[in-house]
Symmetry: C2
Subunit: 235 residues, 2 copies
């Protein structure tokens, strides 16, 4: 395991500013890692999450936070980077039943590639990603087989891989429901007011309350018997 | 195989503006594909190659050319994106013997991720990448095993993969020497004046003639019994 100059092992955490990646950050810190946080500014319409990621990283004492710009609008193909309508008020049974228009083509492959490059540069042996497979929204690149395939790729893709030092991909939320994620994060002191999950927030950053991400988040907090502090503040 | 509205099959070609990717473009066109070209502007100091890629795409009749900006300077770790010295005048035996400082961490993983996203958006079934394994400069992500692993990942990473429509990764230069690449491209009408290989070009875009990329290119043209038109023009 890689250790930082202070002797702590180091991990790269993909931090989107949403509740899943915030919980991942807390788990990486609980696991004893010095966290290097990576946020990808990919031209998403829900740009408020980048500001939330900055606040969160600061509040959690992350000393190294990189924000990398990638202009995915040039590639297109998603409601999250284009002007197509974000679906609202979909019934729970429909969410996750097929690949939705909010799917950003190969997004997690791209995010993990950037995290892998950063892991190589900062000598981190682990990457945390907040992929979930229980309440997921039908994205192909959130499945366990995908993550395993990336871990295999990472062994072959890097100079550290050549030296026999693989990078481990950890997706600790994979088997958790949104309710379990909320409970985990609250237990680890995450202030979910500092997170934004909405795909289509208002100009003031307030969640729409009706996109898939808002509906899943609301369901999660309800299941956990918790009140979403972001809704209480902003809604 | 995916076909374009005109009935041609479609391929994404990673076009850096160097001689390898230019040759790849010619091979994809020879193979009958309608090419969608993808250039990544990653903050490389050899920015002239982006202008070359634009000229080349236009000269070869590529109607869809995307230039995606990714700021890899935020991640660092390479002489190609930072201020560290690019090695000069290395003996041929040394080039390729270890991972050099010009290695950009996980660059091909990143480039292929972007190409994969674009392949999904434009319905391309093939990605061409100009990776070479013969005269290569010691980069881990140019090896056949890496490319196979990415192809496997691509099956799992995308909506089209879920539908049972995999994306094929073609690296037609893998088994070719630089000399064979030069001969292939000349035979297919590539004007190598429109390519730039140098890692550390002058302000006017002229090649330094001394970095690994320049030395490999010179060796290649010499082996092929050809004169490098870029050197004739600019040197």
């Amino acid at each position: 395991m890689q250790r930082s100059p202070k002797g702590e092992p180091r991990a790269v955490v993909l931090l989107s500013g949403g509740m899943d990646s915030a919980t991942c950050l807390a788990l990486a810190q609980r696991d004893g890692f010095e966290v290097v946080a990576l946020t990808v500014d990919y031209g998403q319409r829900h740009r408020v999450e980048i500001a939330r990621a900055r606040e969160l990283a600061q509040a959690r004492g992350v000393r190294d936070h990189r924000v990398v710009r990638v202009d995915l609008r040039e590639i297109g193909g998603s409601a999250l980077t284009g002007t197509a309508e974000v679906p609202k008020d979909r019934p729970a049974a429909e969410i996750g039943s097929q690949v939705p228009v909010t799917y950003v083509p190969a997004r997690n492959t791209l995010f993990l590639s950037l995290a892998l490059g950063l892991a190589e540069v900062v000598a981190a042996g682990v990457i945390y990603i907040g992929a979930t497979a229980v309440d997921y929204s039908g994205y192909p690149d959130c499945r366990p087989a995908f993550l395993k395939a990336f871990e295999n790729l990472a062994k072959l893709a890097t100079a550290r891989g050549l030296r026999g030092e693989p990078v481990e991909i950890r997706a600790p939320l994979l088997a958790l429901s949104k309710g379990e994620i909320a409970r985990t994060g609250v237990g680890l002191g995450i202030d979910y007011r500092m997170t934004s999950s909405c795909y289509d927030p208002g100009d003031d950053g307030s969640p729409c309350g009706r996109c898939d991400a808002c509906l899943l988040r609301r369901k999660g907090f309800a299941e956990a018997g918790l009140v979403d502090p972001a809704l209480r503040t902003l809604g």
